[in-house]
């Protein structure tokens, strides 16, 4: 255990900080859930890529910098500290990217990773269906083989980014008559393929952050399948591991929120309750705990280990922590909490953030599912009935 940064790591931090200082706009972008904001965020992804900051851990051949996980954490810390925009391509760079790295062919890596890191192709995910949410193995959408193509028919829903994105990935039933986890394949598809219909869904905040997708004889080349036919569940679980585990929610994001919460508390200190004061102190404690744990997991992975069902503990912790911090802020704001814009015209980020935080315990596998996984796989409690 050595809790000091090497000179090389410190120099890297300074480099990241300087680049972000020169490039992050003072004016915040519009929300990436609306069309104009989406395009602003895509432009930002391309600017990041122009500095080679798209995904620092990826090999240089795919537009990365070949850095390790500690350097990735340093990048993320500086990124969130600088107030840089949300990553509109997070489905790609944090979830699909690592999955392709693990399961893709060399041809697939070259074809998909480079434009992903460059921000040229923005990815949506397509897991859920109307009848397959928490019970994802109930997927019904089919992709049956016809020569060197799959023909997709069915419906996906709650598809994040799909209102505006370029490509999607998801699980499809490729074996006729197959049940549950068997006979599923992991397929990537161009959202502009004939037969794909997107129907944007208005979210809590009023913007179309996700969409329904209807597939009507959509022809997708077999080359777009990741790993073997019928191996989809295994591949999807790896993606879900990245989602719940290390990559999707790096600690810097929450530490930045905790710092803003401390500042908000100081402004409202005279009217704040002792409970709010404790909640603010707890925000610092829990975001720090999450950061230490992430550094410990990164060290474990760098030493050749891996992250398993512990990813579920992470997901429960960060999603409920994020919600608690924003709830505290809403209560500190009092009568101003309901304002979408404050009187001076600034966006009420706490309200927007609170709405977003309510989705955290639901997406990426609801926290009820995560608690089941924790109990059954980490604590070895009995599996009874469904689940």
């Amino acid at each position: 255990m050595d809790l000091t940064y090497t000179p090389r790591q410190q120099a890297f931090r300074a480099e990241v900080r300087a680049w972000l200082k020169a490039h992050v706009a003072a004016e915040p972008l519009l929300t990436l859930e609306c069309e104009q904001g989406y395009h602003q965020h895509v432009a930002w992804e391309r600017q990041l890529a122009s500095g080679n900051w798209g995904m620092v851990t990826w090999p240089e051949a795919y537009g990365g910098r070949g850095l390790d996980l500690i350097e990735w954490l340093i990048f993320e810390e500086e990124y969130w500290s600088a107030g840089a925009p949300l990553r509109v391509n997070q489905n790609g760079i944090f979830l699909l990217g690592p999955t392709i790295m693990e399961y893709g062919t060399e041809e697939q890596k070259a074809r998909f990773l480079t434009p992903m890191a460059a921000g040229e192709v923005i990815w949506a995910q397509a897991w859920s269906e109307p009848g397959a949410g928490s019970d994802m193995a109930a997927i019904k959408t089919t992709a049956y083989r016809d020569g060197d193509h799959y023909v997709i028919n069915g419906q996906k829903t709650w598809s994040s980014r799909a209102s505006f994105a370029d490509w999607g990935f998801g699980l499809f039933r490729t074996e006729e008559g197959s049940q549950r986890h068997k006979g599923l394949s992991f397929i990537l598809f161009d959202l502009n393929t004939p037969g794909v219909t997107r129907r944007p869904i208005r979210q809590l905040h009023g913007h179309p952050g996700f969409a329904e997708l209807f597939f009507d004889d959509v022809r997708v080349p077999v080359d777009n399948r990741l790993s073997g036919e019928g191996d989809g569940w295994k591949v999807a679980m790896a993606t879900a591991g990245f989602e719940r585990g290390l990559m999707l929610r790096s600690p810097g994001r929450f530490q930045a929120t905790a710092r803003r919460l401390v500042e908000l508390f100081r402004q409202h200190e005279r009217d704040a309750s002792p409970a709010a004061r404790e909640a603010v102190a707890k925000a610092w404690m829990d975001t720090q705990a999450y950061a230490y744990n992430t550094y410990a997991v990164a060290a474990k992975i760098m030493a050749g280990g891996s992250i398993g069902a512990e990813a579920s503990l992470n997901k429960i912790f960060w999603s409920e922590l994020d919600r608690a911090m924003h709830r505290t802020a809403m209560q500190l704001l009092g009568a101003a909490a309901e304002l979408r814009h404050f009187a001076d015209g600034r966006v009420n980020d706490w309200l927007e953030g609170y709405m977003f935080s309510l989705s955290g315990p639901i997406y990426a596998g609801s926290n009820e599912i995560q608690r089941n996984i924790t109990a059954e796989r980490l604590l070895d409690m009995p599996r009874v009935g469904a689940g």
């Binding site: 255990m1 050595d2 810097g252 710092r259 004061r277 230490y292 924790t374």
Partner: protein
């Protein structure tokens, strides 16, 4: 930057775990409770493992290890609800004496011939001290009145709080294990109660609390070992996180045990009562929360993403 605990450190802690689970099981707790609650043979076993000299410098006959090693072992002591006063003598008093340059007793402490019961004013009492006996709910705790010359030293408090936190983590882990095991054997409605989601989710919450208390503990141990200026804040963080995890584990475990958990017959109470004792000792939750508050909200401790290890 490397938050990995080196494998050889974990191996030592695992060896201690094996030793304690073989010599200090629940039947020993019951035997000690029925008798004088200390046992020279158990103490001798700890001495022979080298644990009394763990933090004693090598030139004084010890192993010369660090606070992280001691925290790892204190956690194991919590896991078995160790009755002997190893932690406060060997892992709290010894590093305090070393820091003060007082080496006169170190060799005898390492050999297990002398035990120090560190007395701090904030505690209001001493465990295994010389004064008049006080009446702790913990049947294996020998609590005595605070001597007039008790210290108010800040480092002593931090060492005591850190090692209490480490034991609390071990206590909580043991209580979680007991609740999980009970949930597998107790059947109602024709199935093990551990199959019900209400029980699973309750214990999953304990697992979450522990998962995010442990790295705080290791970070605090390393910070105090490194002597960084902010170490006290990190020790307080560890104490609060460990206390909260232990109370949650205790309340969840008794609930999962049902009425059995409310009996003296089920061993859970040994762990639960130790958690109550150590949760309040070496600075209450309020004391440590106030120290964090004063540094983070009211004070100059640097916060935010780039200050993870400030």
């Amino acid at each position: 930057m490397d938050m990995l605990i080196a494998p050889e450190r974990l191996e030592l802690a695992e060896a201690v775990r094996d030793f304690l689970s073989g010599t200090h099981g629940p039947e020993v707790l019951r035997r000690l409770d029925a008798g004088p609650n200390r046992d020279p043979a158990l103490w001798q076993g700890l001495v022979e493992m080298g644990l009394t000299g763990l933090l004693v410098p090598e030139e004084h006959g010890g192993l010369g290890m660090g606070l992280l090693d001691a925290a790892l072992i204190a956690r194991e002591c919590g896991r078995v609800a160790l009755a002997e006063p190893l932690v406060e003598s060997a892992f709290v008093a010894v590093p305090w004496l070393v820091a003060q340059g007082d080496t006169s007793d170190l060799a005898t402490i390492a050999r297990g011939e002398r035990r120090i019961a560190p007395a701090h004013r904030l505690n209001g009492a001493v465990a295994d001290g010389e004064g008049a006996a006080l009446d702790s709910i913990d049947p294996l705790r020998r609590l005595t009145t605070l001597p007039a010359d008790a210290s108010d030293d800040a480092l002593l408090l931090d060492l005591g709080a850190l090692m209490a936190a480490a034991q609390l983590v071990g206590l909580a882990e043991a209580m979680l294990d007991q609740a999980v095991e009970y949930s597998k054997i107790r059947t109602q409605f024709g199935q093990p109660v551990g199959g019900f989601q209400a029980i699973k989710h309750k214990l999953a919450d304990v697992a979450v609390a522990l998962e995010f208390a442990r790295p705080v503990l290791w970070r605090a141990a390393q910070a105090l070992d490194d002597g960084i200026a902010s170490a006290a804040v990190h020790v307080s963080h560890a104490k609060v996180a460990a206390t909260d995890a232990a109370y949650l584990a205790a309340e969840s475990a008794i609930q999962v045990h049902g009425a059995m958990g409310y009996t003296y017959e089920v061993d859970l109470h040994f762990w639960m009562k130790r958690a109550w004792a150590l949760g309040g000792a070496w600075g209450s939750r309020a004391f440590h929360l106030n120290r964090i508050d004063a540094a983070v909200i009211g004070g100059p401790h640097p916060i935010g993403p780039e200050n993870t290890f400030a």
